[in-house]
C-alpha cells in the first residue's frame, strides 16, 4: 500500500538551530516525493521536489531508497520557517492518466526566537 508517514506532529526549535522534519514512505516502484508547506492563513504550496535536487529557502531533502525516507533539513532555522509541512508522494493512478498525490499527516514547525 502507498503510504506517507510523518512521525512528529510538532517540532519546536530555536532560531538558528538545525531543523530536520522526518518523512518515511511506502511505495512499490520508484517514488516521486515532494514537500509541501502551508504558512499561516495561506494555501498549501509546493516547497520542493526530490527530482529537482534543489534547495528552496535553505531547505533540502534527500531521497534515501534504502531507508525509504525523504527527510527535510535546514541548517539554520529562521522565524519565518514556522509553518505546517507535509511530505507527499506522487503515484500513478489506476485507470487514469493523471497522477495522484498522497500526503502525510503533517508536522507543525515552530521556531522560537
Amino acid at each position: 500500500a502507498q503510504r506517507v508517514t510523518q512521525p512528529e506532529k510538532l517540532l519546536s526549535v530555536f532560531k538558528g538551530a538545525p531543523v530536520e522534519l522526518k518523512c518515511n514512505y511506502s511505495y512499490s516502484g520508484s517514488p516521486e516525493l515532494f514537500w509541501y508547506v502551508q504558512y499561516s492563513r495561506q494555501r498549501l504550496q509546493l516547497l520542493l521536489r526530490h527530482i529537482s535536487r534543489e534547495s528552496i529557502k535553505g531547505f533540502t531533502a534527500d531521497l534515501n531508497k534504502g531507508e525509504t525516507s525523504f527527510h527535510l533539513k535546514k541548517p539554520f532555522a529562521q522565524e519565518e520557517d514556522s509553518a505546517m509541512y507535509y511530505c507527499a508522494l506522487s503515484s500513478e493512478a489506476m485507470y487514469s492518466s493523471a497522477s495522484k498525490i498522497i500526503f502525510g499527516s503533517g508536522t507543525r514547525l515552530s521556531i522560537r526566537p
Binding site: 509541501y36 494555501r43 504550496q45 487514469s96
Partner: protein, 114 residues
C-alpha cells in the same frame, strides 16, 4: 492573482441537507482533485478528474459526488451530510500526466454540519 479559487471559504449546512462546494481554476490544467482534511490528519484524496474522466478513490463514500462541467470548474456534492463530514475540503489542480507535476491548491472550504 489567485489561480485556484474555492467558494465559499466557510459553509454551514444542516445534517442531511445536500450541499455543494465549488472550485474554479485559471491555469487550464487537465487534472482537478478534491481532498478532505480533518483536524490533524493528512489531506485524503476523494476523487480526481483527468479532463472529463472521473476517478473515484475506492474508499470514498457514495455520499460524495463530483461534477466537472468544463475545464475551469469542478464541484463537490455531498448528498446527505453527516456530522462526520465536517472537515476542510481542498481543491487542487495539476497539469496532465507526469509524476513530477506540481499540485496547486485553493484556500479550501471549511464545512460545518449542524
Amino acid at each position: 492573482d489567485a489561480m485556484v479559487i474555492q467558494n465559499p471559504r466557510y459553509q454551514v449546512t444542516q445534517f442531511g441537507k445536500p450541499v455543494t462546494l465549488s472550485c474554479s481554476q485559471t491555469l487550464n490544467h487537465n487534472v482537478m482533485y478534491w481532498y478532505q482534511q480533518k483536524s490533524s490528519q493528512a489531506p485524503k484524496l476523494l476523487f480526481h478528474y483527468y479532463d472529463k474522466d472521473f476517478n473515484n478513490e475506492a474508499d470514498t463514500p457514495d455520499n460524495f459526488q463530483s461534477r466537472r462541467p468544463n475545464t475551469s470548474f469542478c464541484f463537490l456534492d455531498i448528498r446527505s451530510p453527516g456530522l462526520g463530514d465536517a472537515a476542510m475540503y481542498l481543491c487542487a489542480t495539476s497539469r496532465s500526466r507526469g509524476l513530477n507535476t506540481e499540485a496547486f491548491f485553493g484556500q479550501g472550504t471549511r464545512l460545518t454540519v449542524v
